[in-house]
């Protein structure tokens, strides 16, 4: 493939790709995300390919492995385009029937359809599944349309049009558009993206870096993984546009090594984009050059923190430093560096294509656009949920998530990862955006959402998260290292029946110190699980301490009785 030398050549290529495709030809798409692979989607994919040959259907149907569309609970997911027939919990044994019935005769295989739990009615089309119907899948939706290892698939759905458009704009115009959109960083802190780009653009120095943070480390969170696995080009396109706006010629994707499929797909995407001249020297003949390298993280949670991430990129120990000078001024190797999260980058092409004003119409006053959440825990519909900012927790948990399984009651939802907070039932009507979650004592974080039912002990949950953070604290600064150690001792004591009068007060004092005195955001936010459970579930702490009882029946106090 010769490199594309102009936006015109890109459009010509796109037309030739589309011309070769028959939109009416049935295409069986099989989710090949990590979740569905665990269900055996690779063998299902192979079975489809074998069976197509056996039934001699090659001329009638295509088979395609796609990225994760989100409804992980019902994997392996198979959707037959263009009619969007949605089959769920598909196993290898179902493959011959799908081919002979649906492709051969045009019949729907009823037993593989999804049943709407509230109405007990079988749903045929993907878009009608309640889980999807109530979402706004601007970003994650494309995962279901393309083979992530095919740049032609991405081009077929309009990929890299935003890049071609951006290269005709001035860097300032792009930054203005991003500022107008109101996009805030999806990694957790919610910093306005356009402002960050502007600071990095204006920072002194010729060498500037653009970095993608794909070091997703929150337990239960997998939206970034699914984006990199399912649509790596959208992240690349965002980064190239950002680099052009910032004036950077070198980029890094810092992705954790525990995401092998994400690493593989991103590597393929970079090679393909380079081969097409969409990445590398003189992109689309614009004179602008930009290269991207992948760096794999070793699995330290703290390396998601910007300064620790950059230290790790440099080959040093991944420990944070004080950020009195921002990384946008002095970051990687002391050069101005712009770090954004995977989802932030994936939003950029959308903003350039449809305009900042259009984007700013979605969401709330202070938080624009959509957000992808990883909905997990005691929830009927585990999966990835993309909704406009401002959607209430109740809509996410009950309308989209299908509520709590096994007839149990909702107790709390943990947002923002391990250093987020637990939100009780009384706040279920809270509109989810950056500011509202912070006000409720939690945070947006990167978008993990762990639902807990009434069989969950909140003190035990606080202990679990504190233990996680104690293990992931880098140990550089005293309050985080020693504070979390002591916090864990106290919580261990309370959950094992050794709780004393004054423990709650001591936890609160410790929390205040961690918030004020820790070196980085890991320590600053680490008390959130403890603080939010004390705030909303204080009675459970008191029952453990005073009555040596665990109201949820989780903690056992045998050790105390033996003594």
């Amino acid at each position: 493939m010769a490199k594309l030398k102009s936006p015109g050549e890109l459009e010509a290529l796109r037309s030739s790709i589309l011309k070769k495709r028959d939109p009416d030809k049935p295409c069986i798409t099989v989710c090949n995300g990590t979740g569905c692979q665990a269900y055996g989607s690779k063998s299902i994919m192979a079975a489809f390919q074998d069976e197509v040959k056996k039934q001699n259907l090659g001329a009638k149907v295509d088979v395609k492995a796609i990225g994760c569309p989100g409804f992980c609970e019902r994997g392996t997911l198979v959707v037959i385009k263009p009619k969007d027939i949605f089959y769920q919990r598909v196993r290898v044994k179902d493959v011959p029937e799908i081919l002979s019935e649906t492709i051969g005769k045009g019949n729907v295989v009823n037993r593989l359809l999804y049943t709407d739990r509230t109405t007990n009615v079988k749903v045929t089309r993907e878009g009608e599944v309640p889980f999807y119907k109530r979402q706004m899948r601007l970003i994650i939706g494309n995962n279901g349309l393309i083979d992530p290892t095919s740049i032609d698939d991405y081009l077929a759905i309009g990929g890299y049009t935003a890049l071609a458009k951006a290269l005709k704009m001035s860097p300032e115009q792009i930054i203005d558009e991003v500022k107008k959109s109101g996009l805030r960083g999806r990694g957790g802190a919610g910093f306005p993206t356009g402002n960050k780009w502007e600071t990095t653009r204006k920072a002194h120095g010729d060498t500037k870096y653009v970095i993608c943070n794909a070091d997703e480390g929150d337990p239960g969170a997998f939206m970034d993984r699914s984006l990199v696995e399912g649509n790596p080009h959208s992240v690349l396109e965002g980064m190239i546009i950002g680099a052009y706006a910032i004036g950077s010629h070198e980029g890094y994707i810092y992705v954790r090594n525990e995401y092998p499929l994400a690493v593989r797909h991103m590597r393929i995407a970079i090679e393909q984009a380079e081969a097409y001249g969409l990445l590398g020297e003189n992109i689309l003949g614009s004179g602008f050059s930009f290269n991207i390298k992948i760096k794999r993280g070793g699995g330290a949670f703290v390396c998601g923190e910007s300064t620790a991430l950059m230290a790790s990129l440099e080959g040093r120990v991944g420990e944070p430093r004080a950020k009195y000078i921002h990384t946008s001024e002095q970051g990687l190797w002391g050069k101005p560096s712009n770090l954004n999260n995977v989802e932030t980058w994936a939003n950029v092409p959308l903003i350039i294509n449809r305009g900042g004003d259009w984007y700013a119409k979605i969401g709330t006053k202070g938080s624009k656009g959509t957000k992808i959440f990883a909905l997990v825990g005691n929830i009927s519909n585990t999966g990835l949920v993309e909704v406009p900012m401002g959607t209430t927790l109740r809509e996410i948990v009950f309308d989209i998530g299908g509520g709590i399984p096994k007839g149990r009651k909702f107790k709390a939802v943990q947002t923002g990862g391990p250093s987020g907070g637990m939100i009780p039932e009384s706040l279920l009507d809270l509109p989810v955006d950056f500011d509202e979650l912070t006000r409720a004592g939690s945070m947006m974080g990167s978008g993990g959402m762990i639902v807990m039912d009434d069989k969950t002990c909140m003190v035990d949950m606080a202990r679990y998260y504190t233990t996680f953070l104690e293990g992931e604290s880098c140990g550089k600064c005293l309050p985080c290292r020693e504070g979390l150690r002591q916090m864990k001792y106290i919580l261990d004591g309370i959950t094992e029946g050794r709780g004393k009068e004054g423990d709650i007060g001591l936890l609160e004092e410790l929390s205040a110190t961690l918030i004020d005195a820790s070196l980085c955001a890991l320590g600053n936010t680490a008390p959130n699980p403890v603080m939010s459970t004390i705030r909303h579930f204080r009675d459970e702490y008191e029952a453990h301490i005073k009555e040596k009882k665990c109201p949820a029946g989780v903690c056992t106090f045998e050790a105390v009785k033996v003594k």
């Binding site: 330290a300 430093r321 009195y324 140990g475 979390l484 205040a512 070196l519």
Partner: protein
């Protein structure tokens, strides 16, 4: 020169000075354990936290060992909030190093005589400030010891936690830079003994060809000869006996 106020006092300090050193030059006390002029600021012990208000009116807590003086900065080193944080930090330190006299003294100064937290055992005086490892790397240039592992498992150790660090030249800079006396050094006749929290190493000392005194570890002399490009024979005599 930059003009700022610390605890209401007008102060002038050279640009690029940290708040901590500006305060010290003016005899204003800010407690600290991990700060050492010989090495780059690190900000681990957090004892030197101060409250600042910038000329633009932004108020926040910063580590004075890292934050540089700026025009119109208003610094408070001893507010109720700061005292509360320091007391809690010292309480945590007392639990970590119950046997450290330095920590006990600082705690006493802050009005604390005991900790409410679970005390660590094993007579470990190391507060993990990394002064030793940072001095070894940044000043000596050998990086014979470093911090390993993370979080509560973090420890100061030799490469691969072996008993013997091959890179160590026995200079003892780690011991000099340790704020809590967790690393000790003693010269006994022809042998230098350095004791770290996790192990002990011995070094052969070189004898002066004139006075017969043992004056420096042989490995250190070899290292100095190597980095300075001078012949090893230059070091036969101790500094006192050289002409």
């Amino acid at each position: 020169m930059v003009k700022l106020t610390i605890n209401g006092r007008d102060i002038k300090a050279a640009e690029g000075t940290t708040i901590l050193y500006a305060a010290r030059e003016n005899n204003i006390y800010i407690p600290t354990l991990c700060s050492n002029e010989a090495v780059a600021p690190y900000g681990a012990c957090r004892l030197c936290l101060v409250e600042i208000k910038t000329a633009r009116g932004r108020e926040r807590l910063v580590t004075s060992c890292i934050y540089l003086v700026e025009e119109g900065l208003n610094v408070q080193t001893d507010t109720e909030k700061i005292r509360k944080i320091r007391r809690m930090l010292l309480e945590l330190l007392l639990a970590r190093c119950p046997d450290s006299e330095v920590v006990q003294d600082l705690a006493k100064k802050a009005g604390l005589d005991k900790t409410r937290f679970v005390e660590q055992t094993g007579n470990n005086k190391c507060i993990l400030c990394a002064n030793c490892a940072r001095t070894c790397e940044e000043v000596v240039g050998v990086a014979a010891i470093s911090l390993a592992k993370r979080g509560v498992e973090r420890e100061m150790t030799t490469p691969f936690s072996e008993d013997f660090s091959e890179a160590c030249i026995g200079c003892g800079s780690c011991s000099y830079s340790c704020p809590t006396g967790a690393i000790s050094m003693e010269d006994k006749n022809s042998t230098r003994v350095i004791k770290w929290p996790h192990n002990t190493m011995e070094f052969k000392l070189k004898k002066c060809s004139v006075c017969g005194q043992y004056w420096a570890p042989e490995k250190q002399i070899e290292y100095i000869a190597k980095i300075s490009g001078t012949p090893i024979s230059d070091y036969d005599k101790c500094p006192d006996c050289r002409e």
